[in-house]
Symmetry: C2
Subunit: 333 residues, 2 copies
């Protein structure tokens, strides 16, 4: 197993990225190729006892900075760390590429380096999403804002394969996000997508779900356009943060409540653990001729470790070949 | 002040609806005309000491039932309680109409009875939304799923007037909901709306907001299409419910945590009070030639009371005339 990791991507790069790579290489024995500013990466590596691990550094002279338009920067800087890393995968020197950097940059570089799988309309950015019934696969969460029905239907097919490989669900239930089933609900897009999804997925297509059913985990895969999906994941995070902030403020304003909260702390911790997407949190770009995962920009070493572990699982599940076969099967039909 | 209340609308109609009307009439001395099945409404009224209150019953032979497609039913049943009630307002016998019933039914009946204000592209369903900085006005939350840029721009204007009247903000900050400002973010709709809103609203338009900024209350008015808006309010409710459910489950699984939670209860109550939209929760249909407010379907008497009170405030603020003047001003320009 050889994974390429973007050493320059994310809020805590390269420090935490390199630390996560060291942890991963030590625990698994796998090879991790760190791509980035050679000096900076080597300086980080020197802080670890990493001499006997399968860690390699490949120099990338350019980086996509936080204050740049990532898509523009990815196009202008041909030798940014993402592009250099993806080329290693494309040329057969590694199995997959993983970054904690800008999603927009990864999207642009991914398209430039890997191209789409022939027959794929558009690549889709997917992410695991927590629910009371376990995680489900949600997408598009931001790759494509204005979408066509056939794109969403095909994403449903590809995401079903991802759900099988990642969640171990043999018959994933695939749904389309909408605001209801009644007359006047849904958009032209969702209504046109409905029949295409039924055709493409057969019994695996369970129909539309409202946000309530989605959050309850009634589907293993929830498909939507990248505008709605991106708004939905950002809104979910904002609402959860706001709610917990208000509870925290009201507790800290009361001495007795603080005592109570201290007693209840194990319960809060357990609740947080159930919502924690740390072990699941890397997104997957589906539809490209190469495996690209995108972890959270705020990732520290533990999340970097899990992002690499998830990436390796997808390589082992041979998800790319499975998606290619599904696309060929459908396009031929 | 004369308000018409749909006695048949909502999960707890007519029992809680009539009770809320009695409370309201008693506290304010205002007139409330209850529209619905005469026998059922009178039977409810008989349970209250309401003989000296300004409560009147107007018979409506038909109702829109919960298991019907509300828009279809509103069209088929010409004498449903909403249509009968709205006609009283249209014909000058009352100032505004209020229902806890189906939004879809209110929309259809509202269009049929009142028509749109000349120059208004589409009526918009708006609702107050809680934030750390107080409530803001959010819409469209479900009246129009496929939208045009000029609709959203006009909604921004009308909603700004609503924010002035309802929230007492003299210079409301109006924003457009999007998933970011960078290249590749937003849709054709949001990008086309941007320039129109800047033109229509001038300095009052603050640009796009992401969900995080919206939830933080950075705008007084947030405009979006009715699909995204409907998904957003449903998702917000679902995420909040799920989060509190998980916390509750983990607390009740631990004896000591239950003791702690009991001590912290005043803090939880205070947090809940800050999020409570009970006093604000009635939505307003903007753009029709008549004032229509739509309360929550689950409303009990207290929410019915507040919905009536909010409706009266809007009548007093003369919001309908203000909106008409704004539309005339803009259309002439």
């Amino acid at each position: 197993m050889k994974l390429v990791l973007d050493a320059m991507g994310g809020d805590h790069a390269p420090h935490e990225i390199v630390a996560g790579a060291v942890d991963y290489a030590r625990k698994t024995g796998h090879t991790v190729i760190l791509v980035g500013q050679e000096d900076a990466v080597n300086a980080e590596l020197a802080q670890h006892d990493a001499s006997r691990l399968n860690l390699f550094v490949v120099h990338a002279p350019e980086t996509i900075d936080m204050d740049e338009q990532p898509a523009l920067a990815a196009r202008r800087k041909k030798n940014n760390s993402m592009a250099v890393g993806m080329r290693l995968v494309r040329d057969g020197q590694a199995d997959a590429f993983c970054t904690m950097g800008h999603t927009g940059g990864a999207l642009t570089a991914g398209h430039m380096v890997f191209r789409r799988i022939p027959g794929v309309h558009r690549a889709v950015l997917t992410t695991p999403f927590p629910s009371p019934k376990g995680f489900f696969i949600f997408g598009d969460v931001g790759a494509n804002t204005d979408c066509k029905p056939e794109w969403l239907a095909q994403w449903g097919q590809m995401m079903a394969i991802y759900a099988q490989a990642r969640l171990g669900v043999s018959q994933p239930r695939v749904a389309l996000l909408s605001n209801g089933e009644e007359e006047g609900k849904g958009t032209q897009l969702t209504r046109a997508t409905e029949s295409l999804m039924r055709e493409a997925l057969g019994a695996a297509y369970m129909g539309v779900v409202e946000p309530k059913e989605m959050i309850a985990g009634e589907a293993n895969v929830v498909v939507t356009d990248g505008f709605t999906g991106n708004v939905a994941i950002k809104l979910t995070e904002a609402v959860a943060t706001y709610l917990l902030q208000i509870i925290r403020e009201e507790i800290t304003a009361r001495k007795l409540a603080m005592v109570g909260a201290a007693l209840a702390r194990p319960a809060f911790r357990a609740a947080a653990a159930r919502l924690d997407d740390r072990e699941y949190g890397a997104g997957l770009l589906l539809g490209l001729n190469g495996l690209v995962t995108v972890g959270h920009g705020r990732s520290k070493r533990d999340r970097v470790y899990f992002a690499l572990r998830n990436t390796a699982q997808l390589v082992e599940a041979n998800i790319l070949e499975q998606v290619r076969a599904e696309v060929v099967r459908t396009v031929k039909r």
